[in-house]
């Protein structure tokens, strides 16, 4: 009988263990959710560029049609190809990040098998609706990315992503004057929905536009390692 090679990561097949077999903490997993076209993939790409020198990063995309977001990241060459993988979601991207996270957990372990221990795994959801959120079994923290062009009433409408995410990112602020979105109103509504939870307004067109979000990730990493 041909047996598989001994595994370097025997936490395989378990769920939600925060430590590896050697006692070190596994990679921090951060989810990025939000509606179609709000700039999740662009935010992932910008975060990779900002953090790849200081952290060992990998990305998992949950596409609707196979690999389009993964291929976008590959074309942009934000990470070497072996650090980017796509999970197929059977036409239900929210199922793969919330109700049945097994394929995403497999993908995390496959990435660590392929490239060695990671510090950070970014899990991007397929563009879905305002109710799609990540399971706590899959990610340790999640950000919800909306954009000003999608309507300045999204924060007011709420929904689990807007109200409960660890970070709300309002993207494409450079477009606000052109689409007639009221950023102050969005900030007020978001604060009302989210209480103390942070909100970031960003434009990836400006230089170092992802800095605030990247700093938030750095803080998360520091807290994760210290925990």
């Amino acid at each position: 009988m041909h047996l598989d090679h001994p595994t370097t990561f025997p936490q395989r097949h378990t769920h939600s263990s925060p430590v590896r077999s050697d006692g070190s903490r596994r990679a921090l997993r951060i989810g990025l959710g939000g509606p179609v076209g709000s700039g999740k993939t662009a935010t992932v790409a910008a975060l990779c560029r900002a953090l790849r020198e200081e952290l060992s990063i990998a990305v998992i995309t949950n596409d609707i049609y196979t690999r389009e977001d993964a291929e976008h990241l590959l074309r942009e060459a934000v990470l070497p190809p072996e650090r980017i993988t796509a999970v197929e979601t059977g036409a239900c991207p929210h199922t793969a990040i919330r109700d049945d996270i097994s394929a995403n957990l497999e993908a995390v372990e496959d990435l660590e098998d392929a490239v060695g221990p990671l510090d950070l795994v970014l899990v991007e959801s397929g563009g879905d609706n305002l109710t799609a959120t990540f399971s706590r079994g899959l990610v340790d923290a999640q950000m919800f990315v909306i954009d000003v062009a999608g309507g300045d009433d999204i924060p007011r409408k709420g929904g689990p992503g807007v109200t409960g995410s660890d970070l709300l990112v309002v993207n494409k602020t450079d477009l606000a004057p052109h689409v007639g979105s009221d950023l102050d109103a969005m900030a007020r509504d978001a604060a009302e929905q989210r209480g103390e939870l942070p909100v970031v307004f960003q434009s990836l067109r400006s230089e170092d536009g992802v800095k605030t979000v990247a700093d938030w990730v750095r803080e998360r990493i520091a807290a994760w390692i210290a925990a």
Binding site: H15, G90, A96, D100, S102
Partner: protein, 224 residues
């Protein structure tokens, strides 16, 4: 036996990855072989009596205590398509994770340790059923039902088929499901005595060909 364990294991919401697989239905829809509830029924019936029977017999044998590594080899030989072997092992890993949470058991751990890249899904299903206190017939029913439940759900998403029609297709296959589960258990009992070659090896050429066609497609909704 524990009937509630059977319901949990057979539940489409059991988090073991099945939702992302169409059981060959997406390829058959793309080729125009499934267009409505009638052709879905014909597809499911053919799959049930071929791939479904083989999976049910493997699961029944594993639940009966037949050596899982021998069953895994038997599954490899009965899965000609490389794309289907990959899908089956991946689903086996995902099921292992869910089963490990539901019914922790040394037999599951031993199988995971021997094949960390994943055992074939029906073999894991049988060992999981055993861990949950279920018998070979329950395991066979689970595998048989999965072999048609996956395609039916997928076709609802792919064709916008009326979900009531899809459910009626599954209900209509009830007698076939019972027959296949019973055949599978008989074969599993023979395999316990005569070895794994006594297990059925029913193949479906178009499922094998379609699996490779599907794997080569740039755009698809389901993993297999």
């Amino acid at each position: 036996m524990s009937r509630s364990a059977l319901l949990i294991l057979a539940d489409g919401r059991f988090p073991a990855g099945g939702h992302a697989h169409s059981g060959g239905a997406e390829a058959a829809v793309a080729a125009g072989r499934i267009t409505d509830a009638v052709s879905l029924h014909a597809f499911c019936r053919g799959r049930l009596h071929t791939a479904g029977l083989v999976a049910a017999a493997l699961a029944a044998a594993a639940a009966d205590g037949v050596e899982p590594l021998a069953l895994d080899e038997a599954a490899d030989a009965r899965t000609a398509s490389a794309a289907l072997r990959t899908a089956s092992r991946r689903l086996g890993r995902q099921l292992m994770r869910a089963a490990h949470a539901a019914w922790p058991d040394p037999q599951l751990d031993a199988l995971a340790a021997a094949l960390p890249r994943g055992a074939h899904q029906p073999v894991v299903l049988g060992v999981a059923a055993r861990a949950g206190g279920l018998g070979p017939l329950d395991a066979a029913h689970c595998a048989a039902y999965e072999s048609v439940g996956g395609p039916a759900t997928a076709v609802v998403r792919l064709l916008g088929l009326d979900p009531f029609d899809a459910t009626a297709v599954l209900a209509g296959l009830g007698p076939d499901l019972d027959t296949v589960a019973e055949r599978a258990v008989t074969a599993a009992r023979s395999a316990a005595v005569q070895g794994v070659e006594a297990l059925p090896a029913a193949s479906a050429p178009l499922l094998d060909i379609g699996a490779e066609t599907h794997a080569a497609r740039a755009t698809r909704l389901f993993a297999s």
